[in-house]
Symmetry: C2
Subunit: 221 residues, 2 copies
């Protein structure tokens, strides 16, 4: 498998949504579903769904559709939710705590083993069931524990140093919430979450709709 | 401007990134930039950048490139960051507080006027400089104040009721962090943030890379 065989970002962005909807369908006792019905639920076309599934070999049967439990299990395997992931969170502020207590992570196999912070008042405390370690211990901790994902929930100016420490320890993935664009070294996967991007996209749609309601000529000037 | 003239999600997803990078470039004193240089910085092709800009009339000049201050200002206008937005946050837990204290929102014009919570111990407190109101007052508050965006940071089972209250009050946008897929009424823009989607996408890339490193035949079976 070569670099060029990486699945496109657009497909990867949709995959977790498939998993969420299939989990809900399974919980509702739905066993079988056409690509059209799944598409209506997700706001996608049937053909887009078939194309997405074909990235992984396709799982439907002509004239039958998808068997929900199998498709959900297979997409879960593809996403890696069938194997446990050990995470540590650097930064025990609001974002760090929000990640530590996010309700669905644990049941999807993402387990937070430790929080790290520089604040002496927090060190040794147990927040959301997770112990807070001194930030200075991160390097040693990573050397001694198997950690799959380091979550960066620090201020912007500390984020790069945390990424470097994780990289030196051979951690395979970093999930960054600090409001800065980090660049991953070659051997690491990096997910940057910019909350303000999501807010600006919402703001954009509000203004676009206002233009539509005014019956104006749109964005082009 | 008709529904079909809405700018595609793919473009809207990239716009805040343009704004972020242009703001950094401006702060560094860069005045002029080619679409190729901007593309290299953002991991996009020059042609993709020109296509994105053409959705809004295009702002470059052949052979000159983009004038950074103008392009940043124009993209800011398109995103609506040049006009103040008033927000309230329902749910004063970790996610609500993280949004209330997110460092860049205020300077981009997104101002949090109030937090709402059901916990009597929190009501009346000032968290991140924002007063906590009783959740039961949300309806009255929205009737009496101009609120542009309602942020839902409640548990999943309360999210729908908050959305309905916002819709009845004529609020134009809801930004939902509860781990549930909400559907917006016709007159409202809705942004669903699923933190677990971002984590699963990262997990997917980790496993994809492991397959690549093993030299296997990839995802197709």
């Amino acid at each position: 498998m070569h670099q060029r065989d990486r699945v496109s970002d657009a497909v990867v962005r949709r995959l977790p949504g498939y998993y969420r909807h299939l989990r809900e369908l399974e919980a509702q006792g739905v066993l079988r579903l056409s690509s059209r019905a799944l598409g209506e639920r997700m706001g996608l076309t049937a053909s887009q769904i078939r194309q997405d599934m074909n990235c992984f070999g396709g799982f439907g049967q002509q004239g039958y559709g998808y068997y929900v439990p199998n498709l959900k299990r297979r997409i879960g395997e593809i996403l890696g939710v069938d194997t446990p992931h050990h995470m540590v969170i650097v930064g025990a502020g609001n974002i760090g705590r929000a990640v530590a207590s996010y309700p669905t992570f644990r049941k999807e196999g993402f387990v937070v083993d430790a929080l790290f912070d520089v604040d002496p008042a927090l060190i040794g405390q147990v927040l959301q069931g997770v112990e807070v370690w001194p930030a200075g211990e991160l390097r040693n901790y990573l050397a001694e524990h198997a950690v799959d994902i380091v979550v960066i929930a620090t201020p912007a100016d500390s984020a790069r140093a945390v990424l470097d420490t994780a990289a030196e320890a051979g951690v395979r993935a970093v999930w960054n919430f600090a409001p800065v664009d980090l660049t991953a070294p070659d051997k690491m996967e990096l997910g940057n979450v910019h909350l303000s991007d999501s807010l600006m996209a919402l703001s954009f749609r509000m203004h676009e709709r206002a233009l539509m309601d005014e019956g104006g000529s749109g964005w082009r000037r």
